[in-house]
């Protein structure tokens, strides 16, 4: 059985930020010659010349293997995944492995799919699969060369297994060879293992940090950073998006025990205190009059009416094909349906926080940074510092679901602004922890944008699709951000339409157009982004068409998946495992959905029973997944379970609404997530694949909503087209 040392003093994270000697001299595993290294890292490396230090792996004299994770681990398991790739090529022992998060350094640690250092889009393993295996293979080659030199044996006769290097009668640990390995030439080319040689890939390595997470996660999360002499700050932000303080009376707050300073900043009024409770109490004592002249004043009802009117008007056409209008005109029957998806908060369990120490010349940050490049650049800009004087220490994060990947770095900007205002006012450099309370988080925007869809789809006399016309209304997440060029083309933000225009259903005549209304509510990606709503529409409409055509929902979908064998494959597998088409227990109703997102394929079949009060209880979900080579099957199962739970949570009761521009929800009592009583039993079946690995953090989320909705239709005869279910007494 694989296990990590039970009582290891530093099982993760604290090992070192050392060993960059190779990088300092420009010899960095063949991949990163000429990289610019932060000077402090070089200085630290110089003190550790006995380590084999490379960008992604350090082999330490104490025999530990430190994997430098360039991706934030917010629960999705990226740290263990990256360590698995290195350890496999290196044939390291599990007990040797440590994981540390990379410093902020775009050139070395960029996401190869984004070009910036950052985590998202279910890309952590997809973009690192070759890079981290190469890092492990490079370290292996250098350990081999060192052993060969030391023992006078041909490198071809040196073997490595179980963390031990052997040759002839000799053997040594990695640690014993680390210094000599560091002196070896970096190989320009390394040969990676073949899949038959893998020892950890595909074997469900246990998560490196889980023992700590059962003992309080002490030292892991940004929220738990407790620096010497540190203070806590909370900010009173305007109740309406875009409002500004008109006048502030902070005298009562300043008189409170523990409150040290009150700072007016562009984002609001920041109360700095000795502890969190004092800061919160101090903020409650502020008397602020807000200026709403530039604020978003529309409520949800007004926005819905506006969006509904846009459904009647042609938008910007995109990704159409064939002759949808002509085919619809010739259809023997058509279905038209409107859908509404509310704003959603991420409501990750660890409230947002950033700790910053700024002394006027340099600044250091501690938090679960998800877009280090953007955070770094914004911090430098706000503080007027050269980027080389900014350091970001990425911590583990207590969930994100997109919330920490702030495309505008508004959290970093706010923390930096507060740190600067504090230093300007007091002249004392002190660590400040900015926290969002739960109310700040739920109430504070950066939501999954509200969307409406209208679909008209036709069927011909044989029950085949005859034209599909689709209109989408919603704010574009990436419009106006640093990511605009990635996603916005010809006025259409493709994060709003992913899953429709690029559907692999073979629908030959499809028209799609889009409206992106201007609304003053900040929006952001939310686990699986556009697929959160597009999959719901596509998969409930396919179900409806199958029914109108008098065809089985699985068979109907398969007929349109002849060009997408992997999507067809997961649908068939889920159907087989769930016993699709066979009798179900009395009172159980079954629904299916399948969706491709982030280059992975997930089919889900949900068994739903209605409770006595008419609410829907999802009892069991059978999933089939194809995400390429399964690096860590148990983590794939965990991510599908969790992704499905996150999606189920959103369709049951989650909804952010506004009255006259002010958000109505504040905390979990009025923004109600899934609880254990809502959770189904879940089976996850993984397709054995040799394709390159793709994402798994998000793809479990999109299919659950439509699978449940399709089951609820069978139970009630009602097609739920406006979410959440709670609007209809179903949750």
């Amino acid at each position: 059985m694989l296990h990590y040392p039970k009582n290891s003093k530093t099982p993760v994270f604290a090992a070192s930020r050392r060993g960059f000697l190779k990088m300092a001299t420009g010899a960095v595993g063949g991949l990163l010659i000429g990289s610019v290294i932060p000077s402090r890292t070089v200085a630290q490396a110089a003190r550790n010349a006995d380590a084999l230090g490379m960008p992604f792996v350090h082999v330490m004299p104490d025999n530990s293997v430190v994997v430098i994770a360039k991706h934030l681990d917010k629960g999705q398991g990226a740290a263990t995944g990256l360590a698995t790739l290195v350890a496999d090529e290196l044939d390291a022992e599990i007990g040797q492995l440590r994981v540390e998060f990379a410093p902020s350094n775009t050139e070395i640690y960029k996401n190869l799919l984004f070009g910036v250092q950052g985590t998202g889009g279910s890309t952590a393993i997809a973009n690192s699969f070759d890079q981290y295996r190469q890092a492990g293979a490079t370290a292996r080659a250098m350990l081999t060369a060192a052993a060969s030199e030391a023992w006078g044996i041909d490198p071809g006769r040196i073997t490595i297994a179980g963390g031990t290097v052997s040759g002839g009668a000799n053997s040594a640990s990695f640690g014993e060879l680390a210094e000599a390995a560091a002196a070896q030439a970096i190989p320009t080319e390394v040969r990676l293992k073949t899949p038959e040689q893998w020892i950890y890939i595909g074997k469900s390595l246990p998560r490196v940090e889980l023992p700590l997470k059962t003992r309080g996660s002490v030292g892991l999360f940004g929220m738990d950073v407790q620096p010497e002499n540190g203070m806590v700050v909370v900010t009173a932000r305007p109740p309406r998006f875009g409002a500004k303080p008109a006048s502030v009376d902070d005298s009562a707050a300043r008189a409170m025990e523990g409150v040290i300073e009150v700072l007016q900043i562009p984002q609001g009024i920041a109360v700095v205190a000795t502890d969190t409770w004092a800061a919160i109490q101090g903020r409650e004592a502020l008397d602020i009059v807000w200026d709403d002249s530039a604020a978003e004043m529309r409520g949800t009802d007004a926005l819905m009416a506006e969006y509904a009117s846009l459904l009647d008007r042609p938008g910007t056409p995109t990704q159409g094909r064939g002759d949808a209008a002509g085919k619809l005109a010739g259809a023997v029957q058509t279905v038209t349906a409107d859908y509404m998806f509310p704003y959603l908060a991420h409501a990750q369990m660890e409230p947002l926080n950033i700790t910053v120490l700024y002394d006027g010349a340099k600044a250091e940050f501690w938090f679960g940074s998800q877009l280090q490049t953007i955070d770094h650049g914004v911090a430098a800009a706000v503080l007027g510092l050269d980027p080389s004087n900014i350091a970001i220490n990425t911590t583990w994060a207590g969930g994100s679901f997109g919330r920490r990947a702030t495309a505008d770095a508004h959290l970093t900007a706010e923390a930096a602004t507060i740190a600067k205002a504090w230093l300007d006012k007091t002249g004392r450099p002190q660590p400040i922890k900015m926290i969002y309370t739960r109310e700040d988080d739920i109430h504070g925007g950066y939501y999954r944008p509200m969307h409406m869809h209208r679909v008209t789809a036709g069927l011909d006399a044989e029950g085949n699709i005859s034209g599909w016309s689709h209109r989408i209304v919603g704010q574009g997440i990436m419009i106006g951000t640093a990511f605009e060029q990635f996603s916005v083309h010809d006025g259409v933000d493709h994060s709003s339409i992913e899953g429709v225009g690029d559907t692999t259903y073979d629908i030959s005549d499809l028209a799609l157009d889009v409206h992106h209304p201007q609304v003053g509510v900040p929006v952001l990606w939310w686990r699986s982004v556009g697929h959160t709503h597009t999959a719901y529409v596509m998969e409930t409409m396919m179900d409806e068409l199958a029914e109108k055509a008098g065809r089985d929902p699985v068979e109907f979908r398969l007929a349109y998946l002849r060009n997408d064998p992997r999507k067809a494959g997961v649908l068939r597998l889920a159907a087989e495992k769930a016993g699709w088409g066979q009798p179900v227990p009395e009172g159980v109703h079954r629904g299916v959905a399948v969706h491709k997102s982030f280059n992975s394929y997930v089919a889900e079949i949900a068994d739903v029973r209605l409770r006595d009060d008419g609410t829907a209880k999802v009892e069991r979900v059978v999933c089939a997944v194809d995400c390429g080579v399964p690096i860590n099957p148990d983590n794939i199962r965990a991510q599908v379970e969790g992704g499905l739970g996150y999606g189920l949570s959103s369709i049951l009761r989650e909804e952010i609404t506004m009255t006259d521009g002010e958000v109505d929800q504040f905390n979990y009592p009025d923004y109600q997530p899934l609880r254990i009583t809502d959770m189904p039993e879940i089976e996850v079946h993984i397709v054995a694949s040799t394709e390159a690995p793709t994402g798994i953090g998000e793809p479990g989320t999109p299919p659950i909503g439509p699978a449940v909705a399709n089951a609820v239709y069978r139970a009630t005869g009602r097609r739920v087209r406006a979410l959440p279910f709670a609007r209809h007494g179903l949750a």
Partner: protein
């Protein structure tokens, strides 16, 4: 000055009586294993044991704790807690892990009281603990597994 027994140690809390225990632990005593999630006793992340009962520390005030026995995730080591922690690792329950201090405190209190809980017992004891990663199915299995470990 409030005298309590904290993780088995006699401790004097020289802390404002109206401060919630959560913030006394985290900010005054620098014990960060107990997590802040909502502040309104709605998510369970801040759960500790007070006289053996799973209690939300964000709505428990220092001034009400004279003589109380307080156990936090840093100090919990009952047979039930050890079984829960072992089962949590065995079944790889946590994902982000932020809620898990509270989940483990709730689950270990349940198991101490009810060594062989039914699914209904688990629902009742655990419904107050939110996990946004939705590790609930594994939590349920791990509680049953911990019950087996304890019985063995």
């Amino acid at each position: 000055m409030v005298k309590v027994k904290l993780n088995g140690m006699d401790t004097e809390l020289d802390i404002s009586p109206d401060m919630p225990l959560l913030w006394a632990l985290r900010d005054k005593l620098k014990m960060t294993g107990t997590k802040f999630g909502c502040g309104v006793a709605s998510c369970g992340a801040c759960t500790v044991h007070i006289d053996g009962v799973a209690t939300r520390s964000c709505q428990t005030f220092v001034g009400d704790l004279e003589g109380a026995e307080i156990t936090t995730i840093e100090g919990v080591d009952s047979p039930a807690a050890q079984a829960i922690q072992a089962a949590w690792v065995e079944l790889q329950v946590p994902q982000c892990g932020y809620c898990q201090s509270g989940q483990i405190m709730s689950a270990s209190a349940l198991l101490s009281e009810t060594p062989q809980p039914t699914d209904e017992d688990i629902d009742a004891a655990m419904e107050g603990n939110i996990c946004r990663c939705a590790s609930y199915a594994r939590i349920r299995r791990a509680i049953h597994r911990a019950a087996e470990i304890m019985e063995a």
